[in-house]
Amino acid sequence: MRQVLCALVPAVVAHVWFFGYGILFQLVLAVGFALGLEAAMLKLRDRPLKPFLSDYSAVVTGVLFALCMPPLAPWWVTAVGMVFAIVIAKHLYGGLGYNLFNPAMVGFAAVIVAFPLELSHWLLPRQLSPGLPGLAETAQAILTGGLPESLNWDAVTGATPLDRLRTGVTENLAIGEIRNSPVFGDFGGLGWEWIANFYALGGLYLMWRRVISWHVPVAVIATTILVSTPLWLLGPDTNPSPMQHVFSGALVLAAFFIATDPVSGCSTPRSKLLFGAGVAVLTLAIRRWGGYPDGVAFAVLLMNMAAPLVDRLTRPRTYGHYRSRKESSHPGGD
């Protein structure tokens, strides 16, 4: 778990560079709430504090949640998110190892439904912003929910690239025209694509250290590309390019850090591939037809629901159990 946190450091640094100090406040708030709530729930459930607080699972939940939040989201939004993540999604289901759903994603889903306005205040990256909020301004925004006199929401925030694509397509603009907007970078959103690169870098480090297996990340990204490429080739004006899909929103973060959560995911190599593919397909479907610009959180939650079934359907063949009689007379067969 500590390695997971290390792997996220480059992306957090990039986040601070592009979008200011907000993310640091969000991280501190989310981790603080996560640990506090975890301790309270352990106490209530009469469980030992030390092994469960020192396993870093609550910290990771807090960090992943914070990385999904707009940098200036007020503190109570984070608090509500953490209550849903730690209290409801984790401990009411029996604590570590027994949660059906990814706690961070439950928290995020809860706040995106409950606080749509606060969750739409995404800062513009440094290059497009008249001036990123400083430390004091960030603190004020997060603690009071309002901006100081010197700033106003319309100036420092803007629709995310995915949002813009969405509204653009509904206004019958071609993707090429939409992408003329300065918020887009080479592939995804300006700034965001670099953060995604650093997520991928951290993810590769985790694979190298064998903290996560390659199956889920590869399945998520490969499926995203495989499904979106033919659509893009058929209608490049209405369908975003595969690279746009991969580098937008939380897809890379999810591929390496969220869908790889073992507890709420699948456990055999084959089922992990299917799980990742499912996350990718559902994300694309929600981006295309859903009510929210990015669907990663909901895609992960839906696949969490399906995980036991996927595991069941892809059960490996036990040693000495042949599928058919014919096979049993010529097993192996090489």
Partner: protein
């Protein structure tokens, strides 16, 4: 069917672990014979199956190799006197397997002379029928030396059609255990010859000796022995990777043939049969020299042993005696294990005696046995799935057994778990997984027995009900018959009275006239 013969390719198997093998620890000395112990404790039943009838009486003097119990069918393996001496009695004595059990045990006090009974070799074994050899091996008390002590005769008999290969398993299952390696180093020729005898008895055309890829010296020795016996064409030597549990029967078959033994079948279904290299050497001793199986090599090793080594121990020697011969215990020994560290059993006492299947005594110290970390909840990480050689879903089985959902656990093939312990070794939550599987299997067995008992009780009850009903009906029929009879006799009586009255009336009337 020649394409089904194990080829040159080593196929490997799913999962498994590369472990530190620690074998050299015990291989510094040649195999030695420890001094005779004061008493030998020969368990009358060492193997699966039944106990043979005792052939000796208390106070009787016996010679080395004399039969102590009688050979029965293939599952009743006889025991022989490991040395000459006096029978002190037959007592209940603790046994290693199952843990905590007691066995009927013959106590023999050696006289120190080691006088042998007349030997009965089986001459010209090449010319003999397979059955004759199997009978001879059975009379000589052969049981699998790999650990399970499965009666050798029961494995050889049966005339399996299409059986082509005898696999001699020289791949030690576990770290620390080195008795098979030492045996092949020192008695390579006897192993190869024994393999040929077993192959002849099983009706197999070829012998494949499987050794681990790190046993360099052994391969050389086996090749020399093979040439000396002129059996280059019939005996093949195959190196398998040293991956635990490669030495397991089903895993070694998969590694050599690429095929899996059916879950409800036997290796013979694939045309192969597997014997331990120690069993082969013992078969050679029995056939060529006429010596019954009364001794075996035991590895006495571990961090808790002063001078680890391999000892040629008589069956019935208490483990304490072997430890003493290996320099005694070091300080801080906390556990004595029979077998290897992965799937061995803890010995409750070092007074437990050597059996034909005792391959290794491992003394562990506080350092190895102290619980390092507390058990945490399963986080479904799938590490256990990766290493399971039976390709089970260990984490699912754990959750099902924990929830006492034994029926579903059975559906997930709990019975196919070979209890190798790979899953528990890699579990990041330190869950003692194998304990759960053992418990689950016991529970399934208990339920099966319960079901059988219930079915029997039901059948008995139904039979009783049927009998009672039959009796009731018989009684009813009888009563009816009696009633009818009574009725009939009543009407008879009535009509008689009537007739009498009428007669009297008529008389009266007549008298009045």
């Amino acid at each position: 069917m020649d394409d089904a013969l194990p080829g040159d390719r080593i196929h490997g198997f799913h999962g498994g672990l590369k472990l530190q093998h620690h074998k050299q620890t015990a291989c510094q000395h040649p195999v030695e014979r420890p001094p005779l112990p004061e008493r030998l404790f020969i368990a009358m039943r060492q193997h699966q199956g039944e106990t043979g009838r005792t052939l000796v009486e208390t106070g009787e003097h016996v010679l080395k190799g004399q039969a102590l119990t009688e050979a029965g069918d293939d599952f009743i393996v006889p025991e022989h006197a490991p040395t000459s001496g006096t029978i002190e009695g037959v007592i209940d004595y603790p046994a290693a397997m199952p843990p905590g059990s007691m066995r009927r045990t013959i106590v023999l006090v050696p006289d120190g002379e080691d006088r042998p009974a007349p030997r009965q070799p089986l001459e010209d074994w090449q010319e003999r029928r397979a059955d004759e050899i199997v009978d001879h091996l059975h009379r000589s008390g052969l049981a699998g030396l790999g650990g399970a002590m499965f009666p050798t005769a029961a494995k050889l008999r049966g005339g399996w059609s299409g059986l082509h290969t005898l696999i001699l398993n020289g791949a030690e299952c576990e770290p620390w255990i080195a008795c098979d390696e030492m045996l092949m180093r020192e008695r390579a020729r006897d192993v190869v010859e024994g393999g040929l005898i077993l192959a002849h008895a099983a009706g197999a055309r070829q012998v494949v000796i499987a050794i681990e890829d790190r046993m360099g010296l052994v391969e050389e020795k086996l090749r020399e022995a093979r040439s000396a016996l002129g059996a280059e064409r019939r005996v093949r030597i195959r190196k398998v990777f040293t991956i635990y549990p490669e030495g397991g029967e089903r895993q070694i078959i998969q590694a050599l043939t690429g095929r899996e033994v059916p879950h409800d079948g036997l290796p013979q279904d694939l045309g192969v049969v597997v014997h331990n290299v120690g069993t082969a050497a013992a078969a050679r001793d029995a056939v060529v020299e006429g010596r019954p199986l009364v001794e075996r090599i035991v590895t006495v090793t571990g961090p808790g042993i002063a001078d680890p080594r391999n000892l040629l121990a008589l069956v019935g020697t208490p483990f304490a005696h072997l430890v003493e011969a290996a320099g005694g215990y070091r300080e801080g020994v906390t556990r004595l294990v029979l077998g290897g560290p992965m799937s061995g059993t803890a010995l409750p006492s070092d007074e437990i005696p050597v059996t034909k299947g005792s391959n290794c005594v491992l003394a562990l110290t506080r350092e190895e046995t102290a619980p390092t970390q507390p058990t945490l909840p399963c986080i479904n990480c799938g590490e256990c799935v990766r290493v399971c050689p039976a390709r089970l879903l260990p984490q699912t089985l754990f959750k099902l057994v924990e929830a006492e959902n034994y029926d579903d656990a059975a559906d997930y093939d709990l019975a196919d778990c070979i209890e190798c312990g790979c899953c528990a070794a890699v579990c990041p939550s330190h869950i003692p997984l194998v304990d759960f599987y053992k418990h689950g299997k016991d529970e399934l067995t208990r339920r099966r027995l319960d079901r059988r008992r219930a079915a029997l009780a039901k059948r008995r009850y139904e039979a009783r009900e049927e009998r009672l009903e039959r009796e009731r009906q018989a009684r009813r029929a009888k009563r009816q018959e009696r009633e009818e009879k009574l009725k009939r006799s009543e009407t008879d009586a009535k009509s008689e009275i009537q007739a009498a009255i009428e007669r009297a009336k008529r008389k009266k009337e007549g008298g009045n006239d």
